[in-house]
Symmetry: D2
Subunit: 161 residues, 4 copies
Amino acid sequence: MHFTPSDPDFENKVRDSFSRQVFMDFIGAKLVEVRPGYCEIQVGYKKDLSQQHRFFHAGVIGTIADNSAGYAAYSLMPADSSILTVEYKLNLVAPGDGALLVGRAHVIKPGHTLTICKSDVFVVKNGIEKLCAISLVTLMEMKGKADMPAEDAFPKKNREA
Amino acid sequence: MHFTPSDPDFENKVRDSFSRQVFMDFIGAKLVEVRPGYCEIQVGYKKDLSQQHRFFHAGVIGTIADNSAGYAAYSLMPADSSILTVEYKLNLVAPGDGALLVGRAHVIKPGHTLTICKSDVFVVKNGIEKLCAISLVTLMEMKGKADMPAEDAFPKKNREA
Amino acid sequence: MHFTPSDPDFENKVRDSFSRQVFMDFIGAKLVEVRPGYCEIQVGYKKDLSQQHRFFHAGVIGTIADNSAGYAAYSLMPADSSILTVEYKLNLVAPGDGALLVGRAHVIKPGHTLTICKSDVFVVKNGIEKLCAISLVTLMEMKGKADMPAEDAFPKKNREA
Amino acid sequence: MHFTPSDPDFENKVRDSFSRQVFMDFIGAKLVEVRPGYCEIQVGYKKDLSQQHRFFHAGVIGTIADNSAGYAAYSLMPADSSILTVEYKLNLVAPGDGALLVGRAHVIKPGHTLTICKSDVFVVKNGIEKLCAISLVTLMEMKGKADMPAEDAFPKKNREA
């Protein structure tokens, strides 16, 4: 499907928002690609991200599924909107056994208020990519609420005076 | 509902498994309580776990929902079984705005192969607990595969010789 | 949880809408009870509703889970709003083996735009009620679009002139 | 993806099972196509299947999503297995406004015990097909329990003697 983003500067908007998600930096996630209605996020393996069998923890897999869907949807939204995840459903179809996790999300249905995305998460081992999880995600556009941290939205003198 | 665990030593089994999930330590999650068919996990706020509005990242919320469900189900299983999450669905109903995240999961339907749990995730701010997310989780028992890391299951000489 | 409905005449509003759902009549579903934030729907067994093992078909179970959630949410909405199901997730936890299906839905989180409900579907056999399915349902309020059939909303002369 | 069915006579097996689902006949559903790992089911519009705005009821849409997934998965299973739906999640993305509902399901991940399918449901109006719902479905193989009604599985003399 071909989408036309409301905000021509959508890539910077998405990258700015991603860079403000401290948790993405904490787990080492990289925003690899963003196109209108599409987003790819990657996370390299480190032991910190593992569960009891040394594989990627399902929590990391779910995080990548949700986040790539969020930014796929956000790529289509106006500059003065922000986005939140309403809900998602994730099927884990193979263990997260590999050196790299790759989340790829596509918008299935853009909407005035709600946008539906599908995310696939792959795990790469010895150069072979394998489907690890699949997810359907419902996202909501918050109109007129630009995505920025509280301290930027409300100037300091108002908050602290 | 009252459940009788297959393994009388279920609490140690669950705590051992939890302690081997490095990701739990990385995010600062604590296994607060485990009873037959029930589990509670808590995570204190730190900036590392935040999204762009400084709240708990949805990925952390989903991790806690899934993990507390997994250990609620695992509490009922035999000592020589391990567990994996088949799928979960999570509704985010309020922002993760607070100092503490509390995941509480109950087994709804224990089964021979599959167990269904419901997880509620609360966020605590100024001592007030608020429902933040609700989840249904499907878990699968892997019979005869005790939950232990690869290096314990396969002695060193066999792997490295 | 205690809810105050926006529309004091909520019960008639819900019953009117239910009575216009021809599919409910076709499968023999009855709206048994509606309270603010709660709805119960029942369907008696008939062979027409069965799957290959003579039990209630999962399609009927899903229908009751979704519909009872929809009317639980609709009970809280203003008179000039209508409602639609955004999505639902259903776990089937026991076969639909019995003479009666009972869907009971509660609002978990009412919202300005979205409302989240939990539905439990029970099957009754020899007077014993058993949990058959559990569902989480996301519903959306369509403000300013009263729930009525097309021919009532647009008077005849305009449509047929 | 290309799949090899365990049962070379898979099409007859699927069609036999479908024909025993009385509810499919009741709503007028037709099994249009079955291939290894794929199934298509269609339902023509009739007023009996409608909700309050005269569109296909979500219950019918969910039924078709679940059932086409079930038979896509069942096509790959051995002759002496039967199948049950563990759970599904359905996003409704457009009203069921049209003359025909078409459910198309693909196996995403076949498994020893669990199989994961994706179903798309389309609505056809004036010859134009539109995506109406999307679903992820988890199915379970019941090994050694052929899919047949109780009275055929257990001959009369044994049951009634």
